[in-house]
């Protein structure tokens, strides 16, 4: 597939890196040095210039491309880029935007701005935060097969009842499958007798209910319920969207915003959120409002430094779980090393979402795990493809790729895969696969 990526920032680079191995990738960036650097880093074709112009796009052969991904940091540049591309050919256009207003406009009018698929950074990040809140002990959660199947990654704490159990012991649930365990830097494919150790990260796939039940097993005291106190610090777009999504799930969060006018407008838009107007770095205020008793604190302020400060404050006051929005990907590890439970980077989330979408021709859905060590794919099986007609146990034997089938949906029903389950055409299969084997598995489907 010929893919043109406009914008070689963090998002663009990350997408280019994921696609470069299997596709013809051209990257356009205004910064000539950056373009030159990328050429050697990723071994892709680069064009220096303004990606919104027909001139530059023609040089990058957008007219013949299958897909154009506009992912600069500027919403309007991305929209214009897609518009221009539509005048040159019929590439499938993907635009990254920050503003939810553009997303709403695009959703209301089919193919508005010449954009075929739009990814809203802030909304994606908020959805991610809410998913993580929903499963407090999970470090990553992704829905598959229209929400019928969930993939979740858990870090096993020392005191977790699951630590020390074998997979067979831990998997007490009918529709749950252990698909992978990450230990140190290794990926272990779990067998029934694999022992789960503390500090392991276990990946499970199954029905949302069974994943939730397993989460309760992993961390019994952290089971979320509607009475849980959730405090969102910072009324940024991400903060607002997080509160809105939590309201939809019948939570009643609190939101702290410093600016009076912004606080008022948030309070008007969020009927079930208690909005407070104050500086969240004021410890006296945090104590007065009993933020230390909150179960979950989400920091969504505009600067990473402030988020770090508030996160550390919240952690020190004794908040159980702190989720921080981190704008710069370099800081993600810093945050997590300091002890912040989860650091969410909107750019990474966006890059993941776009990458996931580009796989659409082969895979329905995708989740990237452990810095791209493994991927979870959702594949729709076609008549006569390499995966149908054989029992799962035989498939695992015959294919020389490390993969585990986690769940199958057949006619809208969840089927839990066993060794003797035979795959059929039309099945949706959710599987975990070593990144090195992604293209091979995908080619079989």
């Amino acid at each position: 597939m010929d893919v043109v990526i406009v914008g070689a920032g963090e998002v663009g680079t990350s997408i280019a890196a994921s696609l470069a191995a299997d596709h013809e990738v051209v990257v356009i960036d205004v910064d000539a040095d950056r373009a030159e650097q990328l050429k050697y880093e990723l071994d892709v074709l680069t064009v220096a210039g303004d990606g919104t112009t027909a001139d530059v796009q023609t040089t990058a052969a957008v007219g013949d491309a299958d897909m154009l991904i506009a992912c600069t940091d500027d919403d309007r540049t991305n929209l214009v880029t897609c518009g221009t591309a539509k005048t040159l050919g019929d590439a499938f256009t993907i635009a990254r935007v920050k503003s939810t207003e553009y997303l709403r406009t695009w959703e209301a009018a089919e193919r508005a701005f010449g954009v075929d698929f739009m990814v809203c950074t802030d909304l994606q990040a908020a959805e991610n935060i809410v998913r993580v809140i929903g499963l407090p002990s999970a470090i990553d959660v992704d829905p598959f097969a229209n929400g019928l199947v969930q993939m979740a990654e858990f870090e096993i704490a020392d005191e977790s009842p699951v630590a020390g159990q074998t997979v067979a012991e831990a998997d007490r649930f009918e529709s749950l499958t252990f698909v992978g365990i990450f230990r140190d830097d290794e990926m272990v494919l779990p067998r029934g007798d694999t022992v789960i150790c503390a500090a392991d990260r276990a990946v499970v796939i199954g029905s949302p209910e069974s994943v939730h039940l397993f989460a309760t097993d992993v961390a019994p005291e952290a089971t979320p319920d509607r009475a849980d106190e959730i405090v969102i610090v910072g009324g940024s777009e991400i903060g607002y969207q997080t509160a809105r999504l939590l309201e939809e799930r019948e939570f009643r969060p609190r939101l702290i915003e410093r600016d009076g006018d912004r606080a008022r407008s948030l309070a008007e838009d969020l009927p079930n959120t208690i909005v407070m107007e104050h500086d969240a770095t004021d410890t006296e205020f945090l104590a007065r409002e009993h933020v230390d008793e909150a179960d979950i604190v989400v920091t969504a302020l505009s600067s990473d430094e402030k988020n770090l400060l508030v996160s550390v404050l919240a952690k020190r006051m004794g908040v159980e779980r702190v989720i921080a929005v981190v704008d710069s990907p370099d800081y993600v590890t810093v945050f997590e090393e300091i002890g912040i439970d989860i650091a969410i980077n909107p750019r990474t989330v966006t890059a993941e979402e776009i990458t996931r979408f580009t796989y659409e021709s082969i895979a329905e859905n995708i989740a990237v795990l452990e810095n791209d060590r493994a991927e979870v794919l959702e594949l729709e099986l076609t008549e006569g493809c390499g995966l149908v007609g054989q029992p799962v146990a035989d498939l695992v034997e015959s294919i020389d790729v490390r993969f585990v089938i986690g769940a199958i949906t057949r006619g809208g029903e969840l089927v839990t895969p066993r060794g003797d389950t035979v795959l059929r055409p039309g099945d949706h299969v959710v599987l975990l696969v070593d990144t090195a084997g992604v293209s091979e598995i995908a080619s079989l489907a």
Binding site: R264, L266, A267, E268, I274, E277, E289
Partner: protein, 488 residues
């Protein structure tokens, strides 16, 4: 000024109604013909003075609104003076009667109803109907533009948005609403007429039309000295829904009638308002039952309790019984009910339910923020946030209204003493509230079967002014007395 001229000239049309009545009953035409001549002349003069009229800014609009109500009341008083019979022959009394009519108050200075011709009595009813129409114009078309009064609340109610969808222009919306007013009046007249033919011959065509004019307008004049009490119980029950409808938001009614009937029952203000009527009726019924001095049957107790409460809360002012005879408990509850009022956007007067609802919710919010000083909590009506400025205006309106009532109470007591008569504090407070809040009857001499003619002339003069101020939501009149209004 040209607007004023149009209104005054237009007044000649409704004046034809009593003319028709006078012709039919063979009564003197003079009072109305003189008035028609005067109003046409005044109208022409105003138009002449206006010349090339500029645009209607807020300043001109305030002046126009205030003057329209004042001048129409003055013109409306002319027939009483020219007819020259009874207490209203005196110019101050005539103006009182006319202002009480135009402001849909319903307080009367008539003593003996029999001496007046049917056409003059009909004119009282017509003025009240015009007053109801006028207040709808004011609420739907004028005040919302000026951003004062209850009209701005209608916007927060998320109703006007839908109205906008129906008709993009305010003037068109207003026309729909007047059409509804006319339709409801016709429906009331027909209902009364049918009841007149079936259950109560007392309710002839004359009375049917006369009462139709004043029920939907929540006004309260009646050509009968016994008010609605003169009619059969079924007729009394039939009047209740028309008073309630007249005090319901016309925008809401319009939407309910054009295909969304459930809207009515989802409306928060409507809930609150019906709740107040229901609770107050029950309390009054209980207190009448417990009162040994009044002996009424179960049906009669319920009927009089509901009728009186609805009449007071909707600011109509009809009476089915002389409630002055009731125990103090019931009377004080009625006094409290005077301050409630119907819904914003109706013909009703007083403080209005939505203002109380917003005030109560704001108070509850303030209790919350007392504990959490940093919390930002908008007050919501039907899910829509209410602007803080609006809340401030509502608090100011409540305070100013209550101050006016108490100031008028003092005037009534002091003036009565000066004139050598005595009036009890409660009666004075009742009379003050009933005139300023445009309800109609009060207690004591000013009761439903009494007359305001017993108050000294000066008191009646002050009442005329306060009815005027109270009806057009205080602000338009009071701004005329500010320095800023007259200086650029």
């Amino acid at each position: 000024m040209s607007l004023l001229g149009d209104v005054l000239a237009g007044l000649a049309v409704p004046l034809l109604i009593p003319v028709v009545v006078a012709l039919y009953y063979g009564e003197s035409l003079a009072p109305f013909l003189v008035t028609i001549a005067v109003t046409l002349a005044l109208g022409a003069a105003c138009r002449r003075l206006a010349g090339a009229d500029g645009t209607l800014g807020p300043r001109e609009a305030f002046l126009a609104v205030s003057l329209v109500w004042l001048l129409v009341a003055v013109v409306g008083a002319i027939p009483f003076v020219v007819a020259g019979v009874g207490t209203v022959a005196h110019p101050v009394n005539a103006l009182f009667e006319s202002m009480s009519g135009l402001t849909t108050t319903g307080a009367t200075v008539l003593v003996d109803f029999d001496v007046h011709s049917r056409s003059v009595l009909m004119w009282r009813q017509v003025i009240q109907w015009l007053g109801g129409l006028g207040i709808l114009v004011l609420a739907t078309a004028v005040l919302s533009e000026l951003g004062v009064g209850g009209a701005q609340l209608m916007e927060t109610e998320s109703q006007t948005r839908d109205v906008d969808k129906l008709t993009p222009k305010i003037s068109e919306t207003a026309q729909l609403i007047w059409g509804l007013y006319l339709g409801l009046t016709l429906l009331a007249a027909l209902t009364y007429l049918v009841l007149g033919l079936t259950v109560d011959p007392q309710m002839g065509p004359y009375n049917a039309v006369a009462h139709a004019f004043t029920s939907v307008a929540t006004a309260g004049f009646s050509p009968e000295p016994q008010s609605v009490g003169a009619f059969h119980p079924i007729v009394q029950w039939a009047v209740v829904p028309f008073m309630v409808v007249g005090s319901t938001s016309f925008v809401l009614l319009y939407l309910a009638l054009t295909g969304e009937p459930m809207r009515l029952f989802r409306n928060e203000e409507f809930h609150f308002y019906l709740g107040v009527i229901g609770a107050l009726s029950a309390l009054v019924a209980v207190s009448i039952t417990l009162d040994p001095s009044t002996t009424l049957g179960a049906e009669a107790t319920l009927r009089h309790a509901v009728f009186t409460v609805v009449s007071i809360v909707t600011t109509t002012g009809y009476a089915s019984i002389d409630y002055v005879q009731w125990a103090p408990a019931a009377k004080h509850m009625l006094f409290a009910g005077m301050f409630v009022g119907g819904m914003v956007g109706s013909t009703t007067c007083s403080i209005k339910s939505l203002r109380w609802l917003v005030a109560l919710k704001t108070f509850r919010r303030d209790l919350y923020t007392a504990i959490h000083p940093d919390a930002v909590r908008p007050v919501r009506i039907a899910g829509e946030p209410v602007d803080e400025r609006t809340i401030r205006d509502i608090y100011a309106y409540l305070l100013v209204s209550i101050v006016f009532v108490f100031a008028l109470t003092v005037v009534i007591v002091v003036d009565a003493e000066r004139a050598g008569s005595r009036v009890s504090e409660f009666e004075a407070m009742g009379a003050a509230a009933t005139t300023f809040l445009n309800i109609g009857p009060a207690f004591g001499d000013a009761g439903p079967y009494g007359t305001f003619a017993t108050f000294p002339m000066t008191t009646r003069g002050v009442m005329i002014v306060l009815m005027w101020i109270g009806r057009i939501e205080i602000v338009p009149v009071l701004v005329l007395f500010t320095k800023a209004f007259w200086t650029s």
